[in-house]
Symmetry: C2
Subunit: 237 residues, 2 copies
């Protein structure tokens, strides 16, 4: 934002509007076809302007997309109130808040999330930027780990391994759900909060090797019934 208005002092309101229109058009097309299918002509057509106008505002597609993603990331970080209303020791709610955030992000901006994923896969520079943002949240967990688990004998590297490993819970699933819209998953008819809670429970179990306090579960209480028999029955397929 700051860059956009300050870079060229001569930039006018109308120009800013056109940039906005191009960005919104790009986001719309991203939703439909994804980053690798995206063409400048698609964007200008969607925005209802001439093809040449694009280069008046952006040097190439990459820079437009970068601007969109940077804005999204900044925006997301700003609105991430997550930690605020969660009391210090309340880990389940903390994890659930993180998932609520991730779920909402996917639900509201599937095109952008897909684009981030695609962009990361072949642009090392952007991937670092994304990781920096994404792992910042994880880092919080890494940092407090020694306090939460004072008896843990894990080295800092091992802590990172555990946290990064567990952070994978639901990543693919959210993409399948909100971006590919996999029918077998959509069939679940879950609200955003429900989905977030399910994923949080799984992560909680992975982290603490036990269930979260039952009274905190609003939707996923049934998961407590996943309890293994003392002597698991032999079974033939």
């Amino acid at each position: 934002m700051a860059t956009a208005t300050s870079r060229t002092p001569a930039r006018r309101a109308k120009g800013e509007l056109a940039r906005e229109r191009l960005k919104n058009a790009a986001i719309a097309v991203l939703d439909r076809v994804g980053y690798h299918q995206l063409r400048i002509k698609d964007v200008t057509a969607e925005a209802g302007v001439a093809a040449g106008l694009f280069h008046h505002y952006y040097s190439d597609l990459r820079s437009l997309i970068e601007e969109i993603l940077d804005e999204h990331i900044a925006n997301a970080e700003a609105t991430e109130v997550i930690e605020r209303d969660v009391s210090k020791g309340d880990w389940f709610n903390r994890l659930r808040s993180h998932y609520r955030f991730a779920v909402r992000n996917h639900a509201d901006h599937p095109g952008i999330m897909r684009c981030i994923h695609q962009f990361c896969a072949d642009d090392p520079v952007f991937r670092e930027r994304w990781k920096a943002s994404y792992y910042k949240r994880l880092q919080l967990l890494v940092d407090v780990f020694p306090f939460v688990f004072p008896d843990s004998e894990l080295s800092p590297h091992e802590v990172r391994l555990v946290v990064y490993g567990l952070s994978g819970i639901g990543q693919d699933l959210l993409r399948e759900y909100f971006i590919e819209r996999d029918p077998t998953l959509l069939a679940l008819q879950l609200s955003e909060d429900e989905l977030a809670e399910w994923l949080a429970v799984l992560q909680y179990r992975g982290l603490f090797a036990c269930n979260p306090p039952e009274e905190q579960l609003h939707y996923a209480a049934r998961i407590l019934t996943i309890k293994r028999h003392a002597s698991p029955p032999e079974h033939n397929d």
Copy 2:
């Protein structure tokens, strides 16, 4: 394989060799630059043949890559002995075997795994093929779920949610480790077996909400020390 030798009866041994050389060249380049940077010229140069030869054997890049990936998938499925030496109720070893397989795959074929990931992201047809292969293993888990957890009140859809969610454990991590070669992860200096075991432990905890039997842990026993205090200490960051 069967297709390759039978499609054109007139195809000669030398031709088969050239196809092999192209495929191997492509795999080598995939390792270096990934799918989206890959150019036909790169492949022919790497193979040491003229650019035009490519089209004698393949109609386009996509079809070459598809052949490579299909072969890889078929091959992987064939060598996946996994379930064989694991006794029926021995879930921890079963999960660990799956992870050993995934880890080995990434370690041995980083270029191909990266390509699969990129390909999936923008080719819905291929994604279905990959999911079919990948989820086949998960489906096993989904199928036996009611027998392992007879008291579970989860609907089949919910079972799928849980299994898919947990299957995300380590996905990104394996990519970061073997494809991007993230230094903070490589610093762990883990053997393939160690990595597989860590991931399996995390998944086991997520699935069973408890630790795997201690005597089965060869490397990751320290994870048992992640035990939460009865009354977690308040902590200020």
